[in-house]
């Protein structure tokens, strides 16, 4: 009995380690490649540990203004998207949490089911609309599209958070003469900080991940965000410069990794609240 228990414990550690290698090794390899000189890159067997790490690829990348331009575009677009999503989702989530009205569940259901729609087929019509309203090749247009792709789940998540805040708190503030927006901003929002953080992070990650919208709606190189920029500039040639590509990759995951490190607690709680309890 005892022995079989020990073997099963050992087995689970072994399996967990295998998973860990599968999930983490590629990231290590990306980081390592970005420090490899092209002469070491194509050596077989490969170098598992850098014998002579070089910074050349990073230097080259930052000397090239184009990449920094993509980076700035991405930050601009994602931060604005996050801010607008937060505002709109917060209001809507509060409305859906606190008021009963006709067609409420239908409205909530249709909002959430937009998540199911194939983006490409939306994009075809959106492209013709944007063309008509001169929104193609504008940051505003891209931000608009990204905001609505973040909104449905954000509304859903923040509604779950609002549902957990007792209404009594608001009633007593009302008796004290607070206005409706006063109640929302001074009483309810401070209590929902974790919820706001989670949807903020969710929106940032989602918009930083976007590829399809920016690939299609933007075709001016100076307006392109990172992902589309990388895809168009660094891929598609006959031979790939793998160390440079991996350098670009490492650099472009920096903001996301920082967010993750600082806020992973909120990320998980927000997602589980929205997806499982909802």
């Amino acid at each position: 009995m005892n022995r079989s228990k020990r073997t099963s414990a050992f087995l689970s550690i072994l399996i967990a380690a295998a998973f860990l290698v599968f999930l983490i090794f590629p990231l290590y390899w990306m980081l390592l490649t970005s420090f490899k000189d092209n002469s070491v890159l194509f050596k077989l067997p490969p170098e598992w540990w850098p014998s002579e790490p070089v910074m050349d690829h990073y230097r080259k990348l930052f000397a090239d203004g184009v990449f920094l331009g993509y980076y700035r575009n991405s930050l601009l677009v994602c931060l604005t998207t996050t801010a607008i999503t937060l505002l709109a989702a917060m209001f809507a989530g509060y409305g859906f949490s606190r008021f009963e009205f006709k067609f409420k569940s239908l409205a909530l259901f249709s909002i959430l089911s937009t998540q199911m729609l194939p983006v490409v087929s939306l994009l075809i019509a959106l492209y013709t609309m944007y063309n008509k309203y001169h929104l193609l090749n504008t940051r505003a247009g891209l931000i608009l599209a990204l905001t609505t792709s973040c909104l449905p789940f954000s509304i859903w998540m923040i509604k779950v958070f609002f549902d957990h805040i007792p209404v009594d708190l608001e009633e007593s503030a009302k008796i004290d003469g607070a206005s409706r927006f006063g109640i929302l901003f001074r009483i309810v929002l401070p209590l929902t900080k974790p919820g706001l953080l989670s949807i903020g992070i969710y929106s940032f990650i989602l918009s930083w991940d976007d590829f399809l919208y920016s690939l299609t709606l933007i075709n001016k190189d100076e307006l392109r965000p990172l992902n589309a920029g990388i895809a168009i500039r660094y891929i598609g040639e006959l031979s790939y410069d793998w160390s440079s590509i991996m350098t670009v990759c490492v650099t472009s995951i920096v903001p996301i990794s920082l967010l993750f490190l600082f806020f992973q607690k909120y990320m998980v709680s927000g997602l589980t609240a929205g997806a499982v309890k909802g």
């Binding site: 087929s121 939306l122 075809i124 992902n227 790939y240 472009s252 499982v276």
Partner: protein, 329 residues
């Protein structure tokens, strides 16, 4: 809706002006409260609804509409009705059925692997493992990495001559020659599937784990006293209690992968010889590479129908046992 809103706001103003001297009249006050409620609610949800209507609501209707016309990027001003021509073309050239097949094969493989592996890892992390808290955090990292970065990373790992994947396989004697992961008709879909698993497994594990931790521990204790083994506990407690979580999470995974675009676009662009042309690649190519927006929209419309049917069937399948075990949430 806007007309109604304006009316409310106007009358609301009147009421509030008139209200002051007559504030003691309880009936009048309640009425204005109710109106204020409606106005406040409208203010709250209007921004989100307007945004969603503009970039999702109208486009989806418009896309269905476009699917019945001859539309190219050059002829966007004058739409020509083409009597289901787009749909005829789609069924005539066989691409559609092929890509539906590829899409389903990909979705079913990636979601079932993801679920099986995710369940395994979640069970392990739910047990008494050293450093399990740190592990739970660390395994989430791939999930935050942008999809196209994941795609590029795996392309490098799968690189035929110098890729580390082939090196490992060959040094373990699992294959005798370098595999052409991304340009072999039989391997390309698997290569994309592995990359997708890498990116999506963390989310699956985290969700399942969160569900498992919501199961009260005394249920297991009671089962243990009754002499139930680990396997029985898993099938009679864990799985039934997780039913809702499993349903939601696998549905999210299915939808996510039905829509998957970046991995395919970056890693294979639908090749070799259409072996990885899914519905999303097909409609993107038709609309934005061949510039036939009408035909692309028709693909999208059919795709939409397929997804609706799929999620309906899915919901149906999952509520089979609802009558008996449905009370357990």
């Amino acid at each position: 809706m806007p007309a109604l809103l304006r009316e409310t706001s106007e009358t609301d103003k009147e009421v509030s002006i008139l209200e002051k001297p007559a504030q003691l009249q309880a009936g009048g006050m309640r009425l204005s409260e109710k109106r204020k409620d409606i106005l406040f609610l409208a203010l709250l949800i209007a921004p989100a609804i307007v945004l969603l209507l503009f970039t999702i609501g109208i486009p989806i209707i418009k896309s269905l509409y476009l699917s019945f016309f001859d539309v190219t990027l050059l002829s966007m001003k004058t739409l020509k009705w083409n009597a289901f021509g787009n749909y005829h073309k789609l069924f005539a050239d066989n691409d559609l059925l092929h890509s539906i097949g590829v899409t389903f094969r990909y979705v079913l493989t990636v979601v079932s692997l993801q679920f099986a592996l995710g369940m395994m890892l979640a069970l392990i992390l739910n047990g008494k493992l050293p450093f399990r808290r740190a592990l739970r955090t660390v395994i989430l990292i791939p999930w935050v990495i942008p999809t196209i970065i994941g795609a590029l990373l795996w392309m490098w790992l799968f690189q035929p001559q110098y890729g580390v994947m082939n090196f490992i396989l060959q040094s373990l004697n699992l294959s005798d020659k370098p595999l052409q992961w991304l340009s072999d008709v039989h391997l390309a879909l698997w290569a994309v599937t592995i990359a997708a698993l890498w990116k999506q497994l963390p989310f699956m594990v985290t969700m399942l784990l969160a569900g498992m931790q919501g199961i009260p521990g005394d249920m297991y204790e009671a089962a243990m006293i009754d002499g139930a083994g680990k396997r029985q506990q898993f099938f009679h407690i864990t799985l039934p209690m997780l039913k809702n979580t499993i349903k939601t999470v696998t549905l999210i995974a299915c939808i996510e992968n039905f829509k998957m675009f970046p991995l395919f676009w970056i890693m294979t662009s639908g090749g070799p010889v259409d072996a990885t042309t899914t519905l999303s690649i097909l409609s993107y190519k038709t609309a934005f590479i061949d510039l036939d927006l009408g035909k692309g929209a028709a693909t999208g419309a059919l795709w939409l129908i397929i997804m609706l049917v799929f999620s309906w069937v899915y919901n149906r399948l999952f509520s089979i046992g609802e009558g008996k075990g449905g009370a357990m949430h």
